[in-house]
């Protein structure tokens, strides 16, 4: 089953402190009065937030190779994510984007030397995909609860030991150009401000903490910097 959604920028309530958090822990934008406020106001007309997901009600598991089997496709998510999805009966494969326009606008400003404003729009693009996914997850949590099912957290290629090249497999589970997002041969999504991933669900699923504590990858930037970006 395929579902699509789109959100208005204003329903995501992106704040100045969201931007500060994304830029870096300890960042204070108060030294640029008016700038983040102005960018947040006009970003509403620029961001085109849309996403969607495909639900596989049942999935198979290849315990030997630690792969998830969705339809006729195998997802090699790595040991950690496979473990996190062990209790899941079904799988939800999602993508979400803030659209092309926000990056184009940011780029245009930067090119003409308005670097700070350009950068702020760029950060807004990143933050708004994350916030859209938070909203999607919350809505899905509620839907699943109605069916007495639990939902795992989100897991993306490029995180927790899942190779970014896994994007190719993930995208093969979705229709081409789904939600206006395409994948290059180097596994980069276009528009840039896009995130992909999976979530598991099932009657025995309980949402768990991020698996950082059991992951040996201490050089993961997510782990090290405790980044607020959660994809």
């Amino acid at each position: 089953m395929l579902r699509r959604f789109s959100y208005d920028f204003n329903e995501l309530s992106v704040t100045k402190s969201d931007l500060e958090e994304c830029i870096g822990i300890g960042c204070d934008l108060n030294s640029f009065p008016g700038q983040p406020e102005e960018a947040l106001k006009s970003a509403a007309d620029i961001c085109q937030i849309q996403g969607g997901y495909r639900i596989f009600e049942t999935i198979g598991k290849d315990y030997k190779e630690r792969q998830l089997i969705a339809g006729e496709h195998y997802l090699k998510t790595g040991r950690l994510i496979f473990g996190q999805l062990a209790e899941s009966d079904g799988l939800l494969v999602f993508v979400c984007t803030a659209g092309e326009a926000i990056s184009a606008y940011a780029g245009k400003l930067m090119d003409k030397g308005d670097t700070l404003r350009g950068y702020l729009y760029d950060v807004i693009g990143s933050v708004c995909v994350e916030k859209a996914l938070d909203k999607m997850e919350k809505e899905l949590d509620a839907q699943m609860r109605k069916r007495s099912l639990g939902l795992t957290r989100r897991f993306s290629p490029g995180y927790c030991g899942w190779d970014v090249a896994g994007q190719q497999k993930l995208f093969s589970l979705l229709p081409e150009g789904f939600c206006g997002i395409s994948l290059t041969s180097s596994s980069l999504m276009k528009p840039i401000k896009s995130v992909s991933g999976v979530m598991g669900f099932g009657s025995k699923v309980v949402k768990q903490e991020r698996p950082c504590s059991i992951c040996g990858k201490r050089d993961c930037i997510y782990y090290e910097r405790n980044s607020p970006i959660k994809h």
Partner: protein
């Protein structure tokens, strides 16, 4: 104002991103002269352009690079400092053209093939420029061939490669190999979120740094240009 006071003013304005009198940032310096005015003043007072560059501009940018590395400031502040540096640089341009002052060398930079990220690369460019390097920016999605062509045009340059995903980072390997094949003496720096020192050693690049200042320090040491 004494000469060294003017130079310190320039460094200060660059450190805090005060471009010129009209710039409203940072709010506590509103209405005051900025890097542009102080640079002009320095030259009018007869301070040598080379001293303005080294003891004003580069001093300021060095502080910026260090504070950024220590997470005391963030990208927005670096961007404003780079603008202040540009406004100072405009006054120094004629002296570069006349040969009275010289850059430390040329640095070719680009984001590797298949990758479209540019903010990290741009920050490296800005901080290098502020440390006296002439930067040739090839942009994003740059093929090995483009790097080689640029090297043919500017043979003694250092090369910097940037990538943000492990999949595009893989393209660094080929580019480094081709550059080293053409001239094993060419110094190649690599960076970007997924890059590690171990990867750098494995592909035969000369230096990996998680931040621009690490690169500056390395280049200063290697070329004895501190």
């Amino acid at each position: 104002m004494k000469h060294n006071e003017i130079l310190e003013k320039i460094a200060y304005c660059i450190e805090y991103g005060k471009i010129d009198r009209n710039s409203p940032f940072p709010p506590n310096l509103k209405g005051q002269d900025g890097a542009g005015e102080y640079t002009q003043m320095a030259l009018e007072k007869g301070i040598r352009a080379d001293d303005v560059l080294r003891m004003g501009l580069m001093q300021g940018m060095d502080r910026v690079g260090k504070k950024f590395r220590e997470n005391k400031i963030f990208v927005p502040q670096v961007l404003m400092s780079a603008k202040a540096m540009n406004s100072s640089m405009e006054h120094l341009m004629p002296f570069f053209t006349s040969g009275e002052i010289r850059s430390k060398g040329k640095f070719i930079i680009g984001t590797v093939l298949g990758d479209l990220h540019d903010i990290g690369k741009n920050l490296v460019s800005m901080i290098l420029k502020g440390n006296g390097w002439e930067v040739i920016d090839l942009g994003i999605d740059v093929s090995s061939e483009k790097f080689l062509d640029a090297l043919k045009e500017h043979p003694d340059s250092v090369v910097g490669l940037s990538a943000l995903l492990t999949t595009t980072m893989a393209n660094m390997k080929e580019t480094v190999e081709k550059i080293k094949d053409q001239n094993s003496e060419t110094c190649v720096a690599i960076g970007g979120a997924p890059v590690t020192r171990e990867f750098c050693d494995r592909i035969g690049a000369d230096i990996y740094s998680p931040d621009p200042q690490g690169l500056v320090d390395y280049l200063n040491q290697r070329y004895n240009a501190g």
